[in-house]
Symmetry: C2
Subunit: 226 residues, 2 copies
Amino acid sequence: MSLAVVVFSGGQDSTTCLAWARSRFDEVHALTFDYGQRHRAELAAARRIAKRAGVRHVVVNLHGFGQVSASALTRRNVKVRADGGLGGLPSTFTPGRNLVFLTVAASYAVSHGAADLVTGVCQTDYSGYPDCRRSTIDAVEQAIKLGNGLDAFRIHTPLMDLTKAETVRLAVELGALPLLAESHTCYQGARPACGTCPACVLRRRGFFEAGVPDPIAYRLADAASN
Amino acid sequence: MSLAVVVFSGGQDSTTCLAWARSRFDEVHALTFDYGQRHRAELAAARRIAKRAGVRHVVVNLHGFGQVSASALTRRNVKVRADGGLGGLPSTFTPGRNLVFLTVAASYAVSHGAADLVTGVCQTDYSGYPDCRRSTIDAVEQAIKLGNGLDAFRIHTPLMDLTKAETVRLAVELGALPLLAESHTCYQGARPACGTCPACVLRRRGFFEAGVPDPIAYRLADAASN
């Protein structure tokens, strides 16, 4: 009986990872972090998707994390923009966010006897988010093994080297489009999605390049035609 | 202007680290994690000590972490004992607790422009707590650097190779005994301290071997005579 824990935001990538994990493990638990993020619509999406997927869903209150870190995703007075954040990183970069999510998820996994963690991070995002690189994930995996005295613990990153279009095709192969219809991506937290923020633009381009219609609705007429 | 962030529980070791950091950095912030731990007396001690030391004190709500992890420190129905926890580890071992504390503290540090983190972990505790080893700390440090795109970030572990007696002597050198008079160690959360739990016994032995009277009160007459 193998159990995998998925770091699950309710967005496109983690929803694809949830489907991926379901296809490979006997049991899957989805962990969603509530850290006071501005896009609350993600939490609602996560609940809908987990219910439809029939997996155990745990929402972990990490409001204290939102309180210590500074980024446009947790502070309403910081504007979302492609640059201008800390150290020239995007203002949507929350310092070390993935490190915190992965170490908390690992504690959950170890407590439940699971040695497999799945996260949707992807090197395509690397320019903006250094904690999405496989080298960072390897270091976290090593820290988790050493810190828990475990010989075997694996952080799976099935989307690491995929383009957004390839991720869309993987979702189609996994039969995950009905789940993606409930997913949330927009950084503005809008539903229908704004279609113009960096996250929406990336998602739209991926579906467009994969030649697959995006099952979610967009606010803009031109975006909705994708 | 150098700023260091101390992972600060309000116990003997982190109080000594607070004094150590104050002697080496221009400014010190103390971060205390409230994860629903059974020994709530630690939080009160942390507040008293930070106030007396005159450093900025931030209590970070990590109740969500207590919720995902299983240990005698966060669950009232788990008995504190020296063995019998997960994988033969002590029942007081919270899987990956230090990994979570260090990654959250690193987010705070990076958000505040600090490149120095101080933690009181110590290899003396290694038999029970694999996340107290320097090799684990090195892996976490590497993950923090890679995950934040930083060349320089240091996790200081001034107590790593010290015996409890040497830690007591260091505290004396740093003039930290008045702070230690407010510190809390007892796993039972008792004040006066129980004097008989593993944490109390370790603390009492350290002061005894250092030839320094412990400035806190113990419940047991024979312990109080130390």
